[in-house]
């Protein structure tokens, strides 16, 4: 297995965190993982993206140029990274705020209304976790529980009360593409 993922959106959407949670979950399952952020001059609200590899073998290039999955959280990211999906690969689109459809017909495309689902759950900030739920449902590359374990590790024990909400977000995200 080699999952080569690109996560992209604007700063504040939790794009880098999504990637880290996935990499962390992969590590918990003793897989080889790498997470690499694109970095530029510091700007609040600027664009953000990261490359995440999950593999049964040691990882060569940490830079994902041709992705098995591309996850885009805003329109500029779709415009920039639609072409980066490998033929036959998957494209996950945050349909809540992206106002166009994918143009490619040689890939699988999933539209996930991340923000709406998150708002229904009462917390707009879990939109990224909703998307992660959809991604895992389709790729099955890690166990959902390990995303929650990773989140707990990342947030610290004092934020354990946020786990049920995030579990729900993962489940709803998964259901949306089932």
């Amino acid at each position: 297995m080699l999952e080569q993922n690109l996560f992209a959106g604007f700063g504040g959407q939790g794009v880098l965190l999504m990637g880290q949670l996935l990499a962390f979950a992969g590590m918990l399952e003793s897989k080889y993982v790498s997470w690499l952020p694109a970095y530029g001059p510091e700007m609040r609200g600027g664009t953000a993206n990261c490359s995440v590899n999950i593999s049964d073998e040691p990882i060569g290039s940490p830079v994902v140029s041709k992705a098995t999955s591309v996850i885009v959280m805003n329109r500029p990211s779709l415009d920039k990274f639609e072409s980066a999906v490998q033929p036959g690969g998957m494209l996950f689109i945050n349909s809540s705020i992206i106002d166009r459809k994918a143009e490619r017909d040689d890939i699988q495309v999933f539209y996930v209304p991340c923000n709406e689902i998150a708002e229904q759950l009462g917390n707009a900030r879990v939109a990224n976790v909703v998307m992660l739920g959809a991604y895992i449902e389709k790729t099955k590359c890690v166990d959902m529980e390990n995303i929650l374990n990773a989140l707990l590790e990342k947030l610290g024990k004092t934020k354990a009360h946020l786990i049920p909400l995030n579990r729900e977000a993962l489940v709803k995200g998964a259901e949306s593409v089932r």
């Binding site: 880290q20 790498s34 690499l36 290039s61 940490p62 830079v63 041709k66």
Partner: protein, 356 residues
């Protein structure tokens, strides 16, 4: 200990602390700011000292002072900042002081870019500052290797009383990978009776300590440089490191270091699926350069052609050509605009070389 998911910069900083480094002097520059930031939080907790200097020039001279006073000390920066440090590095080499310097390379010349690059190979291995000296230069290709090399770097610096450079690129610094950092792994402190710690004829048996790189008499300077060259020869013999990957029976030999080397490994896997045998020779020490290992890998009868891949316009390729000394032609795939070569283009290039 369980594995942690750590960013390269932070992992390097923690590994330095575990190696017994207690003094860090630095100045902010992208893409290595996570190192000083991590150190500023961590050093006070282990009884060490983090100090943000007014410039890279000052930082490296603080390193000089601290190393001269006997401390395990380091600094980190990225290409333009490393250029500024070259004065101090030359003095540190001349004064025979141990220290560790980390360079998270970015694109140049000038302000260049803040993206990863390998454009500082010449600077790192062929001098950098003025005078007849070398640094031991380690080029890690993963976060774990960077961690492991930190311990080695401090030990080698102390053993040979010289500055050691960890030459990584922005990708190694910014990437997160699962790693293991051995706790409390610091080696036994080396006795440094040459250090300036305070002295008087009444109380001490050692001679007065003078940390200095000035040898005004020709004979004296030649004695110093002779001593350094003898040391360098010993280091070349004992500390040279190289990784050979899939080299047996390879028809095509790649040569690369750092991040680019791991991209080559992906290319090798892609080529294998197409029935093309390619291997990789990866220098881990860029100085001393593993001339013999590189020569033997490329000169092997099975090897038809060799390709050097770099994120530069072609710097290490000169050493590779020196190693093979005309026996075979060495081609270059180099990107110098901070663009990272892809596995696909490396594989494509090999396929072209095969057809040609």
């Amino acid at each position: 200990m369980a594995k942690q998911l750590m960013k390269g910069c932070e992992a390097i900083a923690e590994a330095a602390i575990q190696a017994g480094c207690r003094f860090f002097f630095g100045y902010p520059i992208t893409p290595q700011n996570d190192i000083p930031e991590y150190m500023s939080a961590r050093m006070p907790k282990v009884g060490g000292c983090f100090l943000q200097a007014e410039s890279e020039v000052a930082a490296i001279n603080m390193v000089y002072g601290a190393a001269g006073a006997g401390a395990r000390v380091m600094t980190s920066s990225s290409s333009p900042g490393i250029s500024l440090k070259q004065e101090g590095i030359s003095y540190i080499a001349g004064a025979e002081l141990p220290c560790v310097i980390v360079n998270m390379m970015r694109g140049g010349p000038g302000l260049g870019s803040i993206q990863a690059s390998q454009g500082d190979y010449f600077q790192s291995t062929k001098g950098g500052g003025h005078g007849d000296y070398h640094l031991v230069v380690y080029a890690p290709a993963s976060v774990q290797e960077a961690i492991d090399l930190m311990q080695t770097a401090f030990d080698v610096a102390d053993k040979y009383r010289m500055p050691v450079l960890i030459l990584a690129d922005g990708i190694i610094g910014q990437m997160m990978e699962p790693v293991e950092i051995k706790q409390g792994n610091a080696s036994e402190p080396v006795k440094k009776d040459w250090a300036t710690v305070g002295w008087s004829e009444k109380d001490f048996t050692r001679p007065r300590a003078v940390v200095n790189s000035l040898y005004i008499e020709v004979e004296e300077l030649e004695e110093l440089t002779g001593r350094l060259q003898a040391r360098y020869a010993k280091i070349a013999e004992e500390e040279t490191r190289v990784e050979l990957y899939n080299t047996e029976d390879a028809e095509f030999m790649l040569c690369a270091y750092g991040t680019v080397a791991r991209i080559c490994k992906t290319a090798i896997a892609q080529l294998k699926k197409q029935g093309i045998k390619a291997g990789l020779v990866r220098p881990i020490t860029l100085w001393p350069f593993p001339y013999k290992a590189v020569h033997d890998a490329i000169a092997a009868p099975s090897v038809k052609k060799a390709l050097c891949v770099e994120m530069s316009a072609g710097q290490m390729v000169e050493d590779v050509r020196l190693a093979i000394n005309g026996e075979k032609e060495i081609e270059l795939l180099g990107h110098s605009g901070s663009r990272v070569p892809t596995a696909e283009e490396i594989a494509q290039r090999i396929i072209q070389m095969r057809g040609a």
